[in-house]
Amino acid sequence: MSEFKLEKFLDGQFICKSGEPATHLYFLQEGEVELVSATGQVFGVIPQGQSFGEAAILRGGIRGASVRAKGDVVCQVIANDQAVELLTSYSPLLVVIMEALLLQLAMNNSIKHA
């Protein structure tokens, strides 16, 4: 998976910030990260083995939350254009699946918060 680059983040370091352009997608290889709201509240933790920043697939989207390393963290990182290229290289249907899953997530969030 040469398209993914390994990046290390120190405890407390912000990996991405709310309101910034969503340019990269992250796979959490070691450690965990916390989700931080615009007001500084921690509202979630993402454990090792999960991904975050999938909104990067949207190309041109903006981050809805900040992500901060909780302890030292190692991530596999891929730029949005490369992620779309990589998905397409396996099958154009994969981009459709990813987009539809993200749209289902937006729908479910809307249902929960209605």
Binding site: P21, L25, S51, L58, I62, L93, A100, L101, L103
Partner: protein, 155 residues
Amino acid sequence: MNENVIKFSVDFESLGKLGPNFLQSKEGQDALASGSLKGHDRLFMSLASSSILNTTLFIPGKKIIETGELFDDAYLVLNGEIQITQKDKSYKLGAGSVIGLSEGMVGLASKFTATAITSVKVKIIPFHRVDAVIKVLPPELRAILVTIIKRNLAP
């Protein structure tokens, strides 16, 4: 819960007027960057213009899926309204709704009944095609999909 409330819908008429190349245009990119075009609008526009998914129409009253049934296909609603009933909950979904994708990808039976209220035009995502693609994915990409599926299925 008020069964007449539409819990999720994009404005497909307005989005349709923007044209198929809007997302690739500078105007489209500016609209995304400024937040005037929401992420779910962009996803809907991209999926609605996809040529690799077939389209079908459900007539009013058609049961699209019933509680306890397994999904053979997932659906993206292009236009029309669907009634969802789940235990004591009932609500409507409109254009942009995605029915059964996360559930079907992990083989879960439907926890709800979905019925077309109006004529409902959908794009079909067949699971036999989804399964064939997922099998060949490397672990990192599969983990990304699994992460989103878990978030979708979280209570």
